[in-house]
Amino acid sequence: MIRSIRACKTAAEERAVVRKECAAIRAAINENDQDYRHRNLAKLMFIHMLGYPTHFGQMECLKSIASAGFPEKRIGYLGLMLLLDERQEVLMLVTNSLKQDLNHTNQYIVGLALCALGNICSAEMARDLAPEVERLLQFRDPNIRKKAALCSIRIIKKVPDLAENFINPAAALLKEKHHGVLITGIQLVTDICKVSTEALEFFRKPKCLDGLVKTLRDVVNSPYAPEYDIAGITDPFLHIRLLKLLHVLGQGDADASDCMNDILAQVATKTESNKNAGNAILYECVETIMSIEDNGGLRVLAINILGRFLSNRDNNIRYVALNMLMKAITVDAQAVQRHRATILECVKDLDASIRKRALELVYLLVNESNVKPLTKELIDYLEISDQEFKGDLTAKICSMVEKFSPDKIWYIDQMLKVLSEAGNFVKDEVWHALIVVISNASDLHGYTVRALYRAVQTSIEQESLVRVAIWCIGEYGDMLVNNVGVLNIEDPITVTESDAVDVVEIAIKHHSSDITTKAMAMVALLKLSSRFPSCSERIRDIIVQNKGSLVLELQQRSIEFNSIVEKHQNIRSTLVERMPVLDEATFSGRRAGSLPATVSTSSGTSLNLPNGVAKPAAAPLVDLLDLSSDDAPVPSSSGNDFLQDLLGVDVSPASVQPGTSQAPKAGTDVLLDLLSIGSPPVQNNSTPSDILSSSQDNKSSVAILDGLSPAPSGGAASMIDLLDGFVPNSPKPEDNGPAYPSIVAFESSSLILTFNFSKPPGNPQTTLIQATFTNLSPNVYTDFVFQAAVPKFLQLHLDPASGNTLPASGNGSITQTLRVTNSQHGKKPLVMRTRIAYKLNNRDVLEEGQINNFPRDL
């Protein structure tokens, strides 16, 4: 039959032949044909191997097993193992046959049964037949004993509770002379120890351990034995199994480890390593040494062996060595550092598996002292590496650079190189982090923007590079053109305003720019239109081109920005102020908190060292930088949560819509909405919230909140500095401000409220009000509380009152300081609604009023 199937020329022909055969077999099964049963089964198995369904043959297997003859049983068991797996219920029917066969007189039949049991038994079958197998562990014939041992392994794996029963028989097996039984016995003991700690303790006893060590010594020293010899070593399999068992027994136990030191040293030094068998033994030996308790001399020996492996020409050996070195790092990092150069060579190897391993190893080796040369090497290699590897390599380089960079300028340099080379492989959150760092390194702004300008000239296809570049050009365009902050190492470069606009224009028009890039470019253009007034018209033209874009985000931006450029020059510059410095610590904390823990799956080791770049989750920073435009509008709750966390301010959801959902409203309405964040009593305790109106970027209401929040003092200071420099239409600061008459704000039969005004120097929009409450009635007021409400264009801040008991008849007064900021300073006067609550003779009193008589120009 096989011949006829092989003779088929096409798949269809083959299917036809197979179908015919199957039909014949099925007919034979129906007739219950005894004679040809085994032939039919064999045919069925072949057909099964070709991939055709053969379920109808399963019962045949069972019948075959149940028959008396050896050949039938043999084929039956083979069919059983091939056509069935342990999850099928049919298997249960075999249990009885198996039981009978396990007790058969013919030892080969017993062997068949054990074999089948060992390969496919299920948990129930294991439980049923375990006693039989246990008995067979002491059978007279070594062939049966070894099969029984392996069968027991499977039973223990399926039903760990039974492990204890096997401890004693297994211990007996360890004293065998027959290699086959010895090997299987050792394997059984190893697996028992993995499953049961009680067994582990039992086998760690010196009696047992010494026996094992002696056995190993005998094997190592044994003379030439042709039966077991492989490549000049007697039974390397036995060597390896013994070493594995020693590994399990010695791990975590100092005494046990001591016993093995000598023999391990002997194996490590005496074994020849020119053949694979020898290397296999050495590998296992090194593995064992690395896992048992510390012994300096042995460890050095092991690392030396690994070093030798690393320079071996055989790929397999090198791969294995790299693998082991990853585990060795946790144990002895110094020694591994010595081999750094070789490992670096392996990163460039032709073999993909070796490259991957070597890269992971290099990543683990990086520390502050060697990060610069290592990064240089890796970046050089990045240029010539092939595509699949680039992704991995880029991720590792970025994360290395981020963690260990000694100074900001080096960090920025390296990131620029990586972006120019492999920008398309760089993950989003990596270049977000880069922008955060850039914005924090204020002295490097000029340098950075010039370097980016140069880089973009050459590598326009690298998307991430383009994005970072246009963001920087937008922000620091004036530094670029005016050559601000040139460092000594830089080559001089002259860039005109229109050159800078060129770059952004190219970015918008480039065919490979995606929506995010284009959107960023539009924002950058808006910023430039304010910084380079001469190019304003040209910029407007570019913006207008996207008015009809099919992408909503681009169209919206285009229309809005266009109207700002055209009609609202007066607020334009304040709109596009410098971004406030993004807080690095909060950003990285947030990022670490919101991202899932990363696991390096390929290494599979249980190292706690960080590996790989964290995968971005919802990238909350995106809202911050206003970059994602092609996503569906980010749900405002997530944006708000992040903003709340970052800035510690309670934000009312309605007025903070990050991104796209606000309808474009030209004119001052937009500003009013944006400014109305934190309506009336915004209890803000630290930095002067008065400067808030100056620092806005169109959609990053964050900037406002940043001004409000207890931002790090550095940030606030820089913000104030920048604002002093860049607010073109701030009125001249006056020293003390004109004096304002005080007013009687509220007067009733029992209470007078007086306001005294003053202006803090340099801040025309803020007014300091000293409120004085006087009690006209003959009764004392207790629990005195003053509350005030102001309309949306005002901001109010109340300091704590001097007290809350107002003595009677004007014998004393309570004072309280209020700070009011008028964003419509000069256009609208202050108004205020007041509510005064106090207790009079334990009766609550409430008085309300409105104050309209503020001096006009407050």
Binding site: I2, R6, M45, M49, L50, G51, P53, F70, P71, I75, L78, M81, L82, D85, E86, R87, Y108, C115, G118, N119, K146, K147, L150, C151, I153, R154, H179, G180, I183, T184, Q187, E227, Y228, I230, D235, P236, F237, L238, I240, R241, K244, N276, N279, A280, Y283, E284, E287, N315, N316, I317, Y319, V320, L350, D351, A352, S353, I354, T601, S602, G604
Partner: protein
């Protein structure tokens, strides 16, 4: 532990499969397809180990056949290479200079030999001589049984003539 053994020809045809871990029929075919794709496309000078789905697969090419074994992460790959070689040498001794055709037409014998070397994914016997002896003994059992059967049927045939 060895999870499965796979013998594939250079054209991707399966010559022998042995599963020591539970895999359904569907899973088995999927695994075979995947691994064939990975292993058959590897160049000659690359190392013999492949990382796959969290396991390691060790493969070795002998003439037109790839012998693959899938092991756990903590197992010794170099040892598995030795086991593969052990198996091939025994096959060689049994068939006398074995080639792929031998394995195709006598696949059941290849399975029997494998069953003498590995059970439950672990090595059973490290001596080639012992394995050969056992297989020879079982083969002679089969022979005698066949002879008996044919002689009985002869007798019956003659008796009923």
């Amino acid at each position: 532990m060895i999870h499965f053994v796979l013998l594939i020809s250079r054209q991707g045809k399966v010559r022998l499969t042995k599963w020591y871990s539970p895999y359904t029929q569907k899973e088995r075919s999927k695994v075979i397809r995947e691994l064939s794709g990975v292993i058959l496309t590897r160049g000659p000078k690359l190392c013999n180990f492949v990382e796959w789905r969290g396991y390691k697969v060790v493969y070795k090419r002998y003439a037109s056949l790839y012998f693959c074994m899938c092991i756990d992460q903590e197992d010794n790959e170099l040892e598995i290479l030795e086991i593969i070689h052990h198996y091939v040498e025994i096959l060689d001794r049994y068939f006398g200079s074995v080639c792929e055709l031998d394995l195709i037409f006598n696949f059941h014998k290849a399975y029997y030999i494998l069953d003498e070397i590995l059970i439950a994914g672990e090595l059973q016997e490290s001596s080639k001589k012992t394995v050969a002896r056992l297989i020879a003994a079982q083969d002679s059992l089969v022979e005698t049984a066949k002879e008996q059967a044919s002689s009985i049927s002869n007798i019956i045939a003659q008796a009923t003539k």
